[in-house]
Symmetry: C2
Subunit: 719 residues, 2 copies
C-alpha cells in the first residue's frame, strides 16, 4: 500500500468565489498539467488519491489515528498527540506467539474503551495486543474459506459463513443445501440491509437471516475465461415472478440452539431492519408486504420466537420504504428512535416500547440523513440532515427532550461524523466545493473545532481544471426546483459554441449534484471538460435527498417524468449562447443507462449521441424488491411496464447510441441490453454495443480506464 | 411462395468481353436503378431472385419439370413437352382420400421409372398419386414431431427421428436418454457426413448412426427472449478435449432387430462415408483415427456386424480427409469407385471388393469434384472436375475401361449435372460469368444440347452494376498462382483514388473466386462497389479446389500463410494507381472472421478498418473434428496454437475492428469473440463489438439486411 501523508498547509484552490445560485470554481492558466484518465480514475496507474486518514476511530473519548507504522492517541479537547504503540512492537509480540505480522495499522480496532487492548484482524484469526503489557494473544481462529466475519467484541464469539451456511466459533449453525443461504444479506440488499448476522449487545445471541431461494429462477452469466465457456448461475427473482422466502433465526452459542421467529408464512414478505432490544429479550424488525405499501414494526420474543407486539404500522398509496433500524436511547431502555417519511420527509420519532409515540423529534421540509449517536449525559442525539441545503449534509445535535437542534461545524459541504463514546466529541470528515477532504475534531458542547487532523491537498493541484457552476432550473411541472451542475473547460470562451454531454442517473437513492468537492464532479466529467466539452448534470424528480413527494412522483412510470425533467435541462442548455444545440450527448449507467437510452429514443432529435451503461431496458427484467417498489408488478401495472419498456421504442433510435454491459452483471442482467439489441434489429435501427467480460454492474478497477477511454472515443467520433 | 417464371429470351449482359487473365463485365450508364440491400440480399423485402426451375428431375429418361400448377414431361431427345398432370387433378384425388392438398408441385418426386406414380410429401404423411388412374393413396404416416425423414421408395419403409431417438414406421428403433443421439448426422457434419440414416437399395435394412455425447462438455448459449434468460446447452467437444463416441447400427424392420457393427472401442475414432454393397450383405465405411492421419476402408458383415476386411488404408504426415463414400459400378457389383487425394489431387480409383486396385480412372493436376452417375450400357462414369480451370466445374464422361474423358457442354462456368436413369441424358444447370443460370438438356453420347429449359435473366438488369475482373497474382511463396477478383464501381475513373475493402474467407473447403455468375461476386460487394469502393478477394493457399498441397500448406499454423498471401493481394492493390493505399479495409466471416482479425493484428499499419463476423479467435475453442484436422491438438501443437491464438495479438490492434457474433452460434461459440474482447481490454486496445441475439453462425433471413447495413456503416464511418 502506498504511503499516504497529510500536509497541514495544503494549498487551497484558486479563485473560488461563491455567488448564489451560480458560482465558479478554479481558474487556471495553460502551463498546467493535463490530467489523463490514468490520473483521474481510481483504477488508473497514476490515480491521484485525495489524502485521507484511514482507520480513524474513537477509543472511549480518545481519538485514535492509525498510520502504517504507528498508532497515535489524540486528546480531542487539547488536540494533544501521543504515540500509543508501533507496528514494530505489535509485530514482535505477534511473532512471539506465531501469529504472523501486520503490514500496516489502518485496520486495527479499539473496541474496549476501558482496556489498553487493540483488536487485530490477521489471516485466519483475530488477536489482541496489550500495549501496556506488550503481549499479544489469539482470540479466535477461522477457516480460510470463511466470509462475512462478525466478531462480537463483548463476548469474543465469531460468526461467519462458509458457502451458503452459517458458523459460530467453528460450529455449524445451519446445514442447508444449495438454494438456501444463511447468515448473509437478503432481499437483494434493499431496505437498508447490508449484512446477515446481528449480535446482541453482550455478543451472546446471534440473530441471522435464512433465505430459501430454491424456488427462484436462475439466470446464467457465461464465464468465457473457463476452458469451455460455462454458465455461472445467479438466483434472480424478476418483477412479478416467484420470489425467495426469508426467515430470521436466533442462535445461542451457549446452548447450540436456534429459534426461528414465528412470523407465519414468509411468502411475499420482507423482514427488514433487525435490531436487538437493549436487554436482549426482544428482537425488533420491520415487516413489509410484497406490494411495499404496508410496513409494520414488530417485536418478537427472542427466547420463544413469538410475536410480542406490532408496535406501529405505516401505509402509503405508493410505497413505504423503511431503511433504518430502531435505535434505543442509551439513557432510557424503554424508548427508541424510529425514522419515517410519513410527513413527506425522513424524520425522527421517539417511541416507547409499547409503540406509543412520545414525540416527533425533528420536523421540516428537509431530511434526516443518518443517526450518528448520542450524548448520554445531555440526552442528545446526533444526526446529519439536509436542513442547510438539499446539497449538503450537516451535523446537528438534537435535544431529545424538546427537539432543539444545533448545527455543528456548519461550514457547508458534506459532513460525516464519528461520535466519541460519551458523545462529547466527534470526528468530522467533510468536503466542500473547494476542499476535497477536511477532518476536524469537534467539541459537541459548543461546536468548537478543537483540532484539525487533515486538510487534504487538492489532488488536481497544478493541473488544468474545469470550472464548475451550480444552479437551479424548474422541473417539467413548472414548480419544482432542480439542481444542476454545469462544468466548463478551463479555457472556456463564451463567444464559442460548445458541444455538451449530459451525465445522468435520475433514479431513487442517488443525488449527483451536491456541495462536496467540486460539487460532486465526476472524474470523467473533469476529463471531458478538459477536452473541450461542456458537462451538464441535473438531478430530476425521482432522485434523492429532496423528500418523498419529489421521489415518488415517478411511481409506476419510471423514466417518464425523469426524462421530461432532463429535457428541461436541455432547454436550459439551449438557452445558453455558447451551447451548440446540434451537439448534445448523454451518458449514464444503470438507472442512468435507462435514462440515456430513454432520452435517445424519446427525443431522437435532441440527443445526437448517447452512451448507456448497464441499462435497465424492461423493468420486467429487473428484480422484485427494487423494481416492484416503484413499478408494482407487470401483472398489476400492465400499461406502466409497456410505456417504460424501451424495447417498445427501439424503432425510434436515430442518433448514435452505444450500450455497454458487463457480462457478469448480477444487478441488471445482460438480458436488458441484449433484448434491446434484438428489438433494434427487429425495428431496423442501429445501436452500438460493447460487452465487458467478467465485469459485474460496474466496470471497476483497472478496466475502468478502458471503459472511459471507450466512452470518450465514442463521443469524439460522433458528437 | 412467389411464382417463379422463366423467360426464354432472357436479356444477356452488355459488354462482356473476356481477355485472359483479366477481363471486364458490364458497362452501364447513370440512368440505371441503384440496388439496395433489400434488393440484393435474399432476406431483403425486394430480393431479386435469379430465375430457377425447382424440382427438375428425371423419371427414367424423361425429364420432369414441376411448376406450381402443372407437371410437364419432356422428352430429352426431341425436347418435346407434354403435360403429365396438374395440381388440380392431384388435389382432387388427395381430397377424395382426406389427405389434404398441395400448394405447389415443386417438391413432388418420381422415383419409380416404370410406374406412373408420383410420390407426394404431405404434412404428416407420404402419399402417391397415379396419374393414369387419377387416384391417390396413403403410403406412410408419421408424427408431427418427426424430423430427418428418410423414405425408402423401394420398400415404403420410413425412418425418422423424434428428439434424440430413431423410429421406423412408428416403431422405436432406439430408446436412449439425453446425451445419446440416434439417426442423425454425427462428427459435426465433417467427413462429408450430412445425415444419419442409410437404407439399403431394397429399403429393407437401415444403417444408422448412434452418437454418445454424454461425456462432451456443454456450452451455454443464452436465450434472451425467454421470460428469464436461459442457457440453451450444446454439447461441443473442443480441440484436445474428450469427444463423443459413435457407433453404426443396422436395423431390420422385418425382424425388429438391430445389429451394431463390431468396431471395437469407438473412443477417438471417426466412422464415415457409409455405403451399402449392392447385394446388401455388407456395409462399407471409412474409419479415421482421431489424429486424422490414417484412414481405412472397411467392409462389415451386415448380418453379424463383424469386420470382414480392411480393404485399403491411407496415411499422410499431415492429414487424410475422406469425404466420399464408395460407389459401385452398376454393371459390375464386385467393383467400386473410391476417391482419394493420395497423388495430390482428388481422383477416382477403381477397386474390386477384395481391395485390389483395378486402375486409377482419372489423373492430373486437377480435381474430381463429384461423381454424378453412370451410363450402364457404355460403362461410363460421369464426373465434374476442375480440369478446364480451377475456377470452373466441368462435366465429363469417363470411360471406366480406359479412362478416356470427354467434356460435355464445356462452355465454361460452374456446371451441376443430373443424370437420367440410363445415363443417356443429363440436365446441366450452370452459370458463367455472364449468365446467372442456364439449364440445358444434354445428350451424353455426343454432347449435343438437345434442349434449353432455362436461360435466366440477369436479376440486376437495368440496374447500376459494377465491373468485375479476375486475374492471378503470386502467393507469398513466390511460386503459386492465386486467383483474385477485383470489382470496380460502374463509374470507375482510373484517375481517382479509391478505398478498397478486401473480402476474405481463406479457409479449407471454400473458394470465393470462380467462373460462376459475375465470378462469384457477393451481393454486398456489389452494393459496396456501387457506393464507390473497390472490392477485392483473393483465394489464398489453404482454400479449396487447388489440390492437397495448396490446401495443407497451412497445416498446424492456420492463418499464418493465409495472411501472408492476403498481404500479397494488398501489395498488388497498392501497385494499382487508382488504389488509395491509406484506405484499405477487410471483412470476412467465420474462418474469414479469423482472417480479418488476424490481418488487422498482424498488419496493423496496412488495414485501417476491419469487420470480423463469427470469428475463430483461439483454435482451442473450436471443435475437435475440423480443428484437429488442421491444427492437431493444443497438447501436441503447443507452439502452433499459441501463434494462431489471436488473443495473444490483441495488444497490436490499431485500426477500427468491429467483431460481430451470433449469440446462438453453435459452430464457432461466442467465447471466441468475448474472450477477444477481454484480451483487448486487458491489453488496452479498442475493438468494437456487435451481437446478433438468436442468430447462429450466420445472420440469415431478414436480419441479413440489418447486418450488412451495420457493416456498411462501419466502413463508411471509419474507412
Amino acid at each position: 500500500m502506498k504511503k499516504l501523508m497529510h500536509s497541514i498547509a495544503a494549498a487551497l484552490l484558486i479563485g473560488a468565489c461563491a455567488c448564489t445560485p451560480t458560482y465558479e470554481l478554479m481558474a487556471q492558466d495553460t502551463q498546467l498539467k493535463q490530467l489523463s484518465l490514468e490520473d483521474l480514475l481510481s483504477g488508473g496507474t497514476n490515480y491521484r488519491y485525495t489524502e485521507n486518514l484511514y482507520g480513524l476511530q474513537w477509543w472511549g473519548d480518545t481519538c485514535i489515528e492509525p498510520g502504517i507504522d504507528s498508532l497515535v492517541a489524540i486528546n480531542p479537547k487539547k488536540n494533544k498527540r501521543e504515540l500509543l504503540t508501533t507496528r514494530a512492537d505489535i509485530n514482535r509480540a505477534l511473532q512471539a506467539k506465531g501469529l504472523g505480522e501486520l503490514q500496516h495499522l489502518y485496520a486495527v480496532r479499539l473496541p474496549w474503551p476501558k482496556e489498553e487492548r487493540i483488536l487485530l484482524s490477521l489471516p485466519g484469526c483475530y488477536a489482541v495486543y496489550d500495549w501496556k503489557a506488550d503481549t499479544a494473544a489469539l482470540c479466535r481462529e477461522y477457516p480460510k474459506e470463511a466470509a462475512n466475519m462478525d466478531y462480537a467484541t463483548t463476548s469474543g464469539n465469531l460468526a461467519y459463513t462458509m458457502g451458503n451456511n452459517l458458523y459460530v466459533n467453528g460450529t455449524a449453525v445451519t446445514a442447508e443445501g444449495e438454494g438456501i443461504v444463511c447468515g448473509q444479506a437478503v432481499h437483494r440488499n434493499e431496505f437498508g440491509i447490508t449484512k446477515g448476522t446481528f449480535w446482541n449487545a453482550e455478543g451472546t445471541l446471534l440473530a441471522f437471516y435464512r433465505m430459501d431461494e430454491s424456488m427462484v429462477t436462475q439466470y446464467p452469466l457465461v464465464d468465457v475465461t473457463a476452458r469451455v465457456g460455462k454458465a455461472d448461475y445467479i438466483r434472480y427473482p424478476m418483477a412479478g415472478m416467484t420470489s425467495h422466502k426469508v426467515q430470521v433465526g436466533i442462535y445461542n452459542p451457549q446452548t447450540g440452539k436456534t429459534v426461528y421467529l414465528d412470523t407465519g408464512d414468509p411468502t411475499d414478505r420482507y423482514f427488514t431492519n433487525i435490531a436487538w432490544s437493549p436487554d436482549s429479550k426482544s428482537l425488533y424488525l420491520i415487516e413489509v408486504n410484497r406490494d411495499q405499501n404496508h410496513a409494520k414494526l414488530c417485536r418478537y420474543n427472542a427466547s420463544t420466537g413469538k410475536l410480542e407486539a406490532t408496535l406501529l404500522e405505516e401505509t402509503h398509496p405508493k410505497y413505504v420504504e423503511p431503511q433504518s433500524s430502531v435505535v434505543f436511547l442509551p439513557w432510557d431502555k424503554d424508548k427508541f428512535i424510529y425514522q419515517s417519511q410519513r410527513d413527506g420527509f425522513n424524520h425522527l420519532y421517539l417511541y416507547d416500547t409499547e409503540g406509543k409515540l412520545v414525540r416527533q423529534l425533528t420536523q421540516g421540509e428537509w431530511m434526516v440523513l443518518s443517526v450518528a449517536g448520542f450524548n448520554d449525559m445531555r440526552h442528545e442525539v446526533f444526526i446529519t440532515s439536509t436542513e442547510q441545503s438539499p446539497l449538503q449534509s450537516t451535523i446537528y445535535k438534537v435535544n431529545t427532550r424538546n427537539g432543539k437542534r444545533t448545527a455543528l461545524n456548519a461550514v457547508g459541504g458534506i459532513h460525516t461524523p464519528q461520535l466519541s463514546a460519551s458523545g462529547k466529541y466527534l470526528i468530522d470528515t467533510y468536503s466542500t466545493p473547494t476542499e476535497p477532504r477536511d477532518i476536524a475534531l469537534v467539541q459537541t458542547l459548543n461546536g468548537n473545532v478543537t483540532g484539525r487532523l487533515l486538510t487534504a491537498a487538492n489532488p488536481y493541484e497544478g493541473c488544468v481544471a474545469p470550472t464548475v457552476e451550480v444552479g437551479t432550473i424548474k422541473a417539467a411541472d413548472g414548480i419544482t426546483d432542480l439542481y444542476y451542475r454545469l462544468t466548463k473547460p478551463a479555457d472556456f470562451d463564451p463567444a464559442k459554441k460548445y458541444p455538451v454531454v449530459v451525465y445522468v442517473y435520475g433514479g431513487p437513492h442517488v443525488q449527483l449534484v451536491n456541495d462536496g468537492f467540486m460539487h460532486g464532479l465526476r472524474p470523467w466529467d473533469y476529463y471531458m471538460a478538459n477536452k473541450g466539452y461542456l458537462m451538464f448534470t441535473v438531478d430530476n424528480r425521482g432522485s434523492s435527498n429532496r423528500g418523498l413527494n419529489f421521489e415518488n412522483a415517478t411511481f409506476r412510470q419510471l423514466g417518464i417524468k425523469e426524462c421530461s425533467d432532463q429535457l428541461k435541462g436541455v432547454e436550459f442548455l439551449k438557452s445558453l449562447p455558447y451551447v451548440d444545440p446540434d451537439r448534445i450527448g448523454v451518458h449514464g449507467w444503470s438507472f442512468g443507462g435507462h435514462m440515456t437510452t430513454a432520452l435517445m429514443l424519446r427525443y431522437p432529435d435532441v440527443f445526437k449521441v448517447g452512451v448507456a451503461g448497464g441499462p435497465v431496458i424492461d423493468w420486467a427484467y429487473y428484480e422484485v424488491m427494487y423494481g416492484e417498489r416503484y413499478m408494482d408488478t407487470p401483472q398489476t401495472n400492465i400499461e406502466g411496464y409497456k410505456e417504460c419498456n424501451l424495447n417498445n421504442l427501439a424503432g425510434r433510435l436515430k442518433g448514435h447510441l452505444l450500450v455497454i454491459h458487463g457480462d457478469h452483471d448480477p444487478t441488471c442482467v445482460p438480458q436488458h441490453t441484449l433484448s434491446f439489441m434484438k428489438a433494434c434489429i427487429d425495428a431496423r435501427t442501429y445501436p452500438d454495443l460493447f460487452i465487458y467480460p467478467c465485469h459485474q454492474h460496474g466496470v471497476t478497477g483497472r478496466d475502468s480506464v478502458h471503459l472511459h477511454e471507450k466512452i470518450t472515443r465514442y463521443f469524439e467520433d460522433y458528437l
